[in-house]
Symmetry: C2
Subunit: 115 residues, 2 copies
């Protein structure tokens, strides 16, 4: 846990959030500024600052399970109409919290370009 990280504080229960799903390694919460009818943030419980930091140290099994967790939640939220996954890394990506999180957006048609 990073004591300065808002997502670590949410995971620790120090800041409230709407938890959608959770297993031993990952958690999905509702984005507080949703950009679609369903807008989830799927993240590892342990603190990794971004996607590359996560991928470069975790096992293939854990990496695959994170994406499967996000894809299954997206498919479920999309109700057959689909969903968009977005992962922001660094300032140009628009990353706002330095704790890896996967945006899962569903419930409306997502336009192009993607930001």
């Amino acid at each position: 846990m990073d004591p300065n990280c808002i997502f670590c504080k949410i995971i620790a229960g120090e800041i409230p959030a709407t938890v959608i799903d959770r297993d031993k390694d990952f958690i999905a919460i509702a984005d507080v500024n949703p950009q679609a009818p369903t807008h989830l943030l799927v993240m590892p419980i342990k603190h990794y600052p971004n996607l590359n930091a996560f991928i470069d140290v975790l096992s293939n099994t854990v990496i695959a399970r994170l994406f499967a967790f996000a894809a299954h939640l997206g498919a479920s939220a999309g109700k057959g109409a689909g969903y968009r996954i977005v992962i922001n890394t660094g300032p140009n990506g628009g990353q706002s919290v330095d704790h890896l999180h996967i945006h899962v957006l569903a419930g409306r048609h997502m336009s192009w370009p993607p930001g």
Copy 2:
């Protein structure tokens, strides 16, 4: 290979494309309608219609390697300033070709909302 899939035809060399990187399982090509100075499409060489179809049948190793391939290309293209990954699944996601592809965008600040 799906004979009606434009990405399968690119992979087979039947339609030209700018190939950025390739290994035995995955290929990265330049998007023909780029939405950022760098806009890559990272995809499995074999045809899977979308992210869920890929995740539900492939091994953890292959799944993790696809995302590592994309994340490393993104970090390289981002030159320390970051990048955005976007995966569209189904009509609401904005998926335009039914062959799983990961958008990797870098070289400008990506805005919010992501489409």
